[in-house]
Symmetry: C2
Subunit: 297 residues, 2 copies
């Protein structure tokens, strides 16, 4: 921000200052996008840390106090906590305020928030697809979003100006912004993110339940593939619990397809049917090419 440029938002409330909230706070500082940033969290230690790291200008535990006069309220807690936060802050929201979020599920967020928000407040749900396996304000960094996608899922009739401002915010964070229908978002993310996480959590848990004598060797020889799963399965437990509960339909649908496919492979291995295995592995290799060509690796 130069002296002549006014910030995109005069006052921003970050409800939740974990990995994503803290990273967004740092982006807003770096880019001069907010006049004043208030961080809100239940834990005093988190609030102290966020202040100490210069992520927020002010830190409060009460959502009602945090959103007072805010032009943008960004929900950055696990999605399961959105409804309670919205209920606590609803009547303190400024008319014309934008309420957005960073949750990985979008239909449930719209269903949870819409009935709670007063008229004249603009709901523009969003999902910056970025993260690491670390949690908390100290895990945040401004470059987290760089080169990644942010999906916005404004409900029908959403305020165009509010959508525009959010697009601008995430673009300044280094993201490419895509507008999408919430239902479609939830299906696509069930495939690209939710099911992979569920599978990774499961397999790491399976290894954990083996005889104890094998565990040190599982750690030692993790480089053969398991390592990548352990990184995914180290993601925030509460955040992921909420994602699976809030996007259960799409996740369970994908899971059914997956288990049917896994049964086919199990059968092929049992029957010594190498052709089925080789055919699939040749197809999946081609998909990797698609991911690399889409510059997602």
């Amino acid at each position: 921000m130069t002296k002549n440029e006014s910030p995109l938002f005069d006052r921003v409330a970050l409800i939740g200052v974990g990995l994503i909230g803290a990273s967004l706070g740092l982006v807003m500082k770096r880019e001069g996008l907010a006049g004043h940033v208030v961080g809100c969290a239940r834990s005093q230690a988190t609030l102290d840390k966020a202040l100490e790291l210069g992520i927020v200008d002010e830190a409060v535990a009460d959502p009602a106090a945090a959103v007072k006069d805010a032009d943008l309220v960004m929900l950055c807690t696990p999605v399961g906590a959105f409804a309670a936060a919205a209920a606590a802050m609803a009547e303190h929201l400024k008319p014309g305020a934008i309420v957005s979020d960073v949750g990985s599920v979008k239909q449930a967020v719209i269903a949870d928030l819409t009935p709670l928000l007063p008229e004249g407040v603009h709901l523009v749900p969003g999902h910056p697809i970025a993260g690491t396996e670390h949690s908390g304000p100290q895990a945040g960094f401004a470059d987290l979003f760089k080169g990644r996608w942010c999906i916005l899922t404004p409900p029908e009739g959403a305020d165009a100006g509010a959508v525009e401002k959010l697009s601008h915010l995430w673009t300044r964070a280094g993201m490419e912004v895509e507008i999408m229908d919430a239902e479609h978002h939830d299906v696509v993310l069930a495939v690209t993110s939710h099911l992979p996480h569920l599978i990774a959590y499961t397999i790491v848990g399976t290894a954990f339940d083996l005889e104890e004598s094998i565990m040190p060797e599982v750690f030692k020889f993790a480089a053969g593939g398991f390592r990548d799963f352990t990184r995914i399965a180290a993601s925030d437990p509460v955040m992921w619990r909420d994602i699976f509960l809030k996007n259960s339909d799409a996740v369970l649908d994908m899971l059914s397809c997956f288990t049917a496919d896994l049964d086919t492979l199990k059968h092929a291995i049992r029957q010594g049917d190498g052709k089925t295995l080789e055919d699939l592995f040749t197809r999946t290799r081609a998909i990797r090419k698609g991911v690399v060509e889409a510059h997602q690796d």
Copy 2:
């Protein structure tokens, strides 16, 4: 190798010069571990490439010719091709020659090779746990093995000198060498490598079978977790077909545990049982810590 030092092996035959064989050839050149390296492959294009890249000193298509006078014969093809290669070369092996391999399965390799090799030839199976998703001689690089583990599974009564020489070879490639029972190897690798690959192949295949309209978005938003699976599922199709067929018992055992665990999670999601999910995700996060502490990431 200095002029005063004689190489570890006067003559080495690499049966197969794909990613691993080529990388080992480059290590032997760099470290001066072999007086003369003969590469053997079925495809003339592969042989030409291996010669052109300076991976081997000589390239022949016939395993019998390749192993003539060799002190070390290293099988670097997919494990399903070991028996045919051994049958073709067995009577041409020099007395006292060491036969080893780089396969990801060890019991089946011992079972396949032992009856074929003549007396006086030393079988020392091995498994350098290293790789990328790329194949072929042009994918090879000498640093592939650096900092990784190599497991040797010498059968009872194996020649101590031969085991020592192979340990030295892989140590010079930058690996830490561990001696292990073949059966134990196959169980540990089923957990850390074979099951993760099977799961990754499956989930990428599941995505592939979705409506075509979703695929471009699956590529686009792959960074949410799917990306890591596509990399694993881009590994060599024939190599992995053979691994699953040759280690089917251990893989199917682990797969049973995995599917039972997955059923538990499916049930928890369906029931809205957040506690079961959060408890597991908290445990798996601790496992990641174990992997990081074992310096495998």
